[in-house]
Subunit: 612 residues, 2 copies
C-alpha cells in the first residue's frame, strides 16, 4: 500500500507485522519444549509455597515450623490426585479443555461463567504474584533494592506488556531456557543440600529481620491457614491440559506424559525445599526469601551457585507471569465469541485484537501490585480462591462428562475426577474460610460481579440481535436524499465539499446563517461564481447562534420529505501535523453530536488535506 | 425542536439559554454601577497592598515598619499619575482601549503581542491572587480553617468557573452590593480608627504567629523590594478605560468621572490602612491579615463590625477575581479575530464559545494556587510583571498616538502619558530586578513563550488561508463516485446502509472479506435476497486481516477512477445508553483513521439506532 494511514503505521510500530494464517501453527511443541512452555507456572510456585506455610506457622513460634513437613506431604498428595484427574481431561478434550469449556459442556451456563470469572481473575493474580515473587528473589540477592520493590514489579509489568504487544509469545523455544535453568539449579540445590545433611555438614542460616512470632496458640484454624497457603504450590497445574492442541501428534499422549513429568518435578522440588528448610532451621524473613536463605546455607554466602539459584527463580517467575499474557486474551476471545464480553476481544485476525486484553491484564496486575506493596505474601490469599474455584468446577464437570459419555470403565474415570473435585472442593472451602479476612473477600465479591457483567453483556447482544434480525422484517427503501452543505464562507474546502455533494444527489442546497447583513450580501455575490448552480439558503439567527437555525432547517427538510434521507456534508480540515487540530473548530463533531439521535440523517465529512 | 441532541441538552443544562442579539446591550452602566462593576479589582488590592510592604520591611526588624508610610505616599503619587494618564486613553479610545489595542494601533505587532501575553497572564493572576487574599480574609476570621486554605481557594475557583459558564456576568446590578459594602466598611474602619487615634484610645494589637525578622540590613534593595510589593495597590486601575463602551452616554465623560472617583477612594483607603497599621503597631502575621488585625484593634475582638470588614473584604476580592472571567475571554476573542489564538476562542454567538476561555483560566489559576500553597504573598511577585508591562506599553502607545494625531494641545496630552509611561516603566524595572528571584522569572519566560505561540498560530492560519484561496485556482469537479459498503454479515443495519448507499450513486458495491469459505457461501446466498441488485465483491485475506484487503481494494478502485471519489459507507450503531458504546467495535473509526490521508476518499457512517 503506497500511502499508509497514521493509525496503521502506529499499530505496525507497536505490535509488529501480522502473521499469515498458514504459518500460525507450524511450531508444534515436543515434550521437552512443552514442559518448558506450559509448566513454568506450576513449577515456579515452589519458589514461594514453602515460605507461605512457614509464615503462618511462625506466628505461634519457631517450634511449630516442624509442622511444615506433614503439611507439605498432604499438599503433595493432593497435587498428585489433581494431576491424575487432569490427565483424564487431556484425553477427553484433545482440543483443549479449560475450566470454562468443561464447565459449559457439562455443568451449564452459570458454573461456566463462574469458572470464566475465576480464571480471568486468576490470570491477573498469576501476573501479580509471580512478578512479586520474582522481585523478591532479586531483592533477596540485592537487599539494597528492597525499598524499590514496587517500582521493580511495575517495571516487569511494563516489560511484559510491551513485549506481548509486540508478540514475543510467538518465539516459543527461547522459553525452554529459564524453565530448564530453574529445574537444574533447584534440583542441584536440593541434591547438594541433601549431601550436606548426609555428610553432617549443615550450618544453620542466620535470618535477617525474621518475621516475629505473635505468640498465637497452635489451633486447628492456624494449621488450616498454613495448609491453605501451601496449596499455592498447586497453582498452574492445569496449564498443560489447556494446551493439548499445541503438542505434536499424538497430542493427548505427549501432553499426558508432559503433565506427569511436571507433577514429579513439582512434588520433588516442593518437598525438597520444605524438608531442607526445616533441617537448616530457616525462619521466614521480611527481607529475604526462604529459597534465598536455603541457597546461602547450602552453597555458602553469595557465591556463583547462590546467584544462579536466584536468577533462575526470578526468570521462571517472570516466565510464569508471561503465560497469563497468552491465556487471558485467549479466554477473553472465547468469551467474546460466546458474547459474554465485548466483541472487541474476539477478533484474532490481527495482533492488535489481543492488545485490549494485554493492556487490561497489565493495568489490573499493576493496580494489585501497588495496592499490596508488591508483597507476595499479601497477594496469596486473593490468588487461591480463583484457582480452586476453577479446579473444582473443571473436575466436577468431568464427572458428569463421563457419566453422560458412558462407555467402558466410565465409572473409574468418574471416580478419579470425583476424587479430584472432592479434594479441590475441600481446599476451596478451607481457603475461603481461612483467607476471607485476609483479602479473599475481594475475590468472593469480584467473581459474582464478573458473572453479572458477563450476563449484562450477553443480554445486550441478544437484544441487539433481535433488533437486527431480518426475519419477518419489511424493508422500506428510501429513494430521496436531500444533501445540505452548511457554509460559513467560500474557499477551496467549501467548494470541494459542494463538488462532492453534487455527486450524491440532484437535491443539493448550501446553507448559510446570516449574522451580518453586509457579509451575507458579499457571500451571495461570490456564490453566483462558485456555487455551481447549487441553491443557497440563507437562514436568519435571532440568537446569533450558528447551530440553532441549521438544526431547525434540517427539521423542516425532514418534515417535507418524511420518506427521504437528509445528508449534511461538511468540509473537514485534515492538518498535516496532529497538533494543528488545536487550531481548527470541532464544528463537525458538534453537528454530529446534535444529530446523533435523529433518524434518517447522516453527517458526512469531506476531508480537505492541508499541506503543512 | 422536538428531538434535541444529547450534547445540545447538556450544553443548555450547563450554560443556560442563549441571549437574543437585541437584548445583549440593553443594560448600560451609570457612574454608580460602573464604579461597582469596573473598580472592584483596583479597590480590592488595598486589602493586601499594605501587608505586602510590611512583610518585606519586617525582615530587618520591627523598627523598619515606619518606612511603610513614605513608601505608601510614593505609590499613591504614582497611582495618581497613572490614573491621569489613563483618563486620556478613555477620551482617545471611546470604544475601549485595552493595552493590546493601544499597542497594536501605535507601537506595532510585537509590542501588541507582548501586551496581550502580559494581559492574559495578568488575568490568571488576578484570579489566583484575589482568591488567595479573599480566603486569607476568611481564615483570619476563622483560624481553624487555615489548614484548608488551598481547598478553599480551589472551591472558589470552581464556583466562579461554573457561575461564569452559566453566565452570571450578565446580571450586572448585583455586583454593586459587595463593592459598596467594601467601600463603606473600609472607610468606616479608617474613620473609627482615626477617631480612636485622635481621642487617644489606641491599644496595640497582639499579632498571632508574627513573621520573624531575619536580621537583614536595611539596604536600598530591600526598600525597593518593599516598594515593588506595595505597587500591587495599582493593579486593576486600567479596568475602567477598557470598559468605556459599557457606560451610558456620554460614555467617555462618565467613564472618566468614574475613574477619578475610583482613584480617590483607592488612594484614601490605601493610605488610611497603611498609616493606621503603623499607629496600631501591627506586625505582618503568617495566620492573620493586616486588615483583620487592624479591624480587631479598631472595633475590638470579633464583634459584628469586625466580621463585616472581613466579609466585605472577601466579597470584593471574589468579585475582583470574577472581573478576570469577563476580561480573559474577551481578549482571547479579540486575539482570535486577529488569528493569534485558535479560532475556538473567537465566536461570541453562543455562551459556549466563551467556555474554552473560562475553563482554561480556571485551570491555570487552580494550578498556581496549588503550586503556591494558596498564599497571596508568594503569588504577588508573579503578578506585578504582567501588570506593569501592559501599563508601560499602553502609556507609551498613547504618547505615539498623540504625536500622530496632532491637534490642539497634543504636547500636553503626550507629556501626561509620557509621565505615566515613565513611572510605570521605572516600576517595571524595579519589579523585574527585585522580584526575579522570587518567582517573577516564570513570567519573564512565559511572556516571550506566549508571544511565540501567538506567532506560530498566526503563521498556521496564514498558511491555511493561502491553501484555501480561490484566487487563480482551477476548479476540477469530479463527477463519478464509487460507493463501497463493507459488510461482515447481513442484518438490518447493513441493509439500511446499502439502502442509503443506493441513493448516493449508481456505482455501489458491497465488500466482504472471506475468512471462512462456508460462511462466505452462506452470505452469497443471503445476498441474492437482500442485496437489492448491488454487486457483492468478495476479497481474499491471506493474513486473516479484515482491514488490509479492504484498503487494497480501495486503492485499486481509486486507481481505476482517478478522476472520481471513493465513498465508504458503514453502518454505525447508536446505542440507547452511552455505556453501550463499550459493546461495539470502533471499526468505523479504524477505517476512518486508515483513510484519513487518502485524497478524494470519504468515509460515511449511517446511524442505526438501537432502541435499548
Amino acid at each position: 500500500m503506497p500511502e499508509e494511514g497514521l493509525l496503521s503505521q502506529f499499530k505496525r510500530f507497536v505490535v509488529g507485522k501480522p502473521i499469515p494464517a498458514h504459518l500460525a501453527h507450524h511450531e508444534r511443541l515436543s515434550r521437552v519444549t512443552g514442559l518448558a512452555v506450559l509448566s513454568s507456572d506450576a513449577l515456579s510456585s515452589v519458589a514461594y509455597a514453602t515460605e507461605e506455610i512457614l509464615r503462618v506457622l511462625i506466628l505461634t513460634g519457631a517450634a511449630a515450623l516442624t509442622l511444615s513437613a506433614p503439611i507439605a506431604i498432604v499438599i503433595a498428595t493432593i497435587l498428585a490426585i489433581v494431576v491424575f484427574s487432569y490427565r483424564q481431561t487431556i484425553h477427553a478434550y484433545p482440543t483443549g479443555g479449560g475450566a470454562y469449556i468443561v464447565a459449559k459442556d457439562n455443568l451449564g451456563e452459570l458454573p461456566a461463567l463462574i469458572a470464566a470469572a475465576s480464571l480471568l481473575i486468576d490470570y491477573i493474580l498469576t501476573v501479580a504474584v509471580s512478578i512479586a515473587a520474582g522481585v523478591a528473589a532479586i531483592t533477596s540477592a540485592f537487599p539494597q533494592w528492597h525499598v524499590n520493590r514496587v517500582e521493580l514489579t511495575l517495571g516487569f509489568v511494563v516489560v511484559l506488556m510491551v513485549g506481548n504487544l509486540r508478540g514475543i509469545r510467538e518465539s516459543g523455544n527461547i522459553f525452554a531456557i529459564p524453565t530448564y535453568f530453574f529445574i537444574v539449579t533447584t534440583l542441584g540445590l536440593i541434591g547438594v543440600g541433601i549431601w550436606r545433611v548426609v555428610s553432617g555438614d549443615v550450618q544453620p542460616v542466620v535470618t535477617p529481620d525474621p518475621v516475629r512470632s505473635e505468640g498465637a496458640s497452635l489451633t486447628m484454624f492456624l494449621v488450616l491457614r498454613a495448609f491453605a497457603n501451601g496449596c499455592t504450590a498447586m497453582t498452574g497445574v492445569e496449564a498443560v491440559s489447556n494446551g493439548v492442541p499445541a503438542f505434536r501428534p499424538p497430542e493427548a499422549k505427549n501432553a499426558a506424559a508432559t503433565m506427569l513429568m511436571m507433577a514429579v518435578l513439582s512434588i520433588a522440588m516442593f518437598l525438597g525445599i520444605t524438608l531442607l528448610s526445616q533441617t537448616y532451621h530457616i525462619l521466614p524473613s521480611e527481607r529475604e526469601t526462604v529459597v534465598s536463605q536455603l541457597a546461602r546455607g547450602v552453597f555458602g554466602d553469595r557465591g556463583a551457585a547462590y546467584y544462579a539459584v536466584q536468577a533462575a527463580t526470578m526468570l521462571i517467575l517472570v516466565l510464569a507471569a508471561n503465560t497469563a499474557y497468552a491465556d487471558f486474551p485467549r479466554l477473553a476471545s472465547i468469551l467474546a465469541r460466546d458474547r459474554y464480553v465485548p466483541r472487541q476481544f474476539m477478533n484474532q485476525g490481527d495482533r492488535l485484537a489481543f492488545s485490549n486484553g494485554i493492556v487490561g491484564l497489565s493495568a489490573f496486575a499493576g493496580v494489585l501490585l501497588v495496592a499490596f506493596g508488591g508483597d507476595t505474601h499479601s497477594l496469596i490469599p486473593l490468588y487461591m480462591i480463583g484457582v480452586f474455584v476453577s479446579f473444582t468446577l473443571s473436575q466436577a464437570g468431568m464427572v458428569l462428562h463421563w457419566r453422560r459419555e458412558g462407555g467402558a470403565g466410565w465409572r473409574t474415570s468418574a471416580a478419579i475426577n470425583g476424587a479430584g473435585a472432592l479434594v479441590t472442593g475441600v481446599v476451596l472451602i478451607v481457603v475461603a474460610i481461612t483467607k476471607a479476612a485476609e483479602g479473599a473477600w475481594i475475590i468472593l465479591l469480584l467473581i459474582p460481579l464478573n458473572v453479572m457483567l458477563f450476563r449484562v453483556t450477553r443480554r445486550h447482544y441478544d437484544i441487539v440481535a433481535s433488533q437486527l434480525t431480518l426475519r419477518g422484517w419489511q424493508r422500506r427503501a428510501r429513494r430521496h436524499n436531500t444533501v445540505l452543505v452548511p457554509i460559513s464562507g467560500i474557499q477551496r474546502a467549501v467548494v470541494g465539499a459542494v463538488d462532492y455533494a453534487r455527486t450524491l444527489s440532484s437535491d443539493v442546497r448550501a446553507i448559510y446563517v446570516n449574522l451580518d447583513t453586509s457579509a451575507t450580501e458579499h457571500l451571495k455575490r461570490e456564490w453566483e461564481q462558485w456555487g455551481d448552480g447549487v441553491p443557497l439558503v440563507v437562514l436568519q439567527s435571532p440568537y446569533r447562534s450558528l447551530m440553532e437555525p441549521l438544526l431547525d432547517y434540517i427539521e423542516r427538510v425532514s418534515a417535507e420529505q418524511p420518506e427521504g434521507y437528509v445528508t449534511i456534508v461538511l468540509p473537514e480540515f485534515v492538518p498535516a501535523r496532529w497538533w494543528h487540530h488545536l487550531f481548527h473548530n470541532q464544528r463537525a463533531l458538534l453537528i454530529k453530536g446534535a444529530l446523533l439521535f435523529k433518524p434518517n440523517t447522516v453527517v458526512t465529512s469531506v476531508p480537505f488535506h492541508l499541506r503543512q
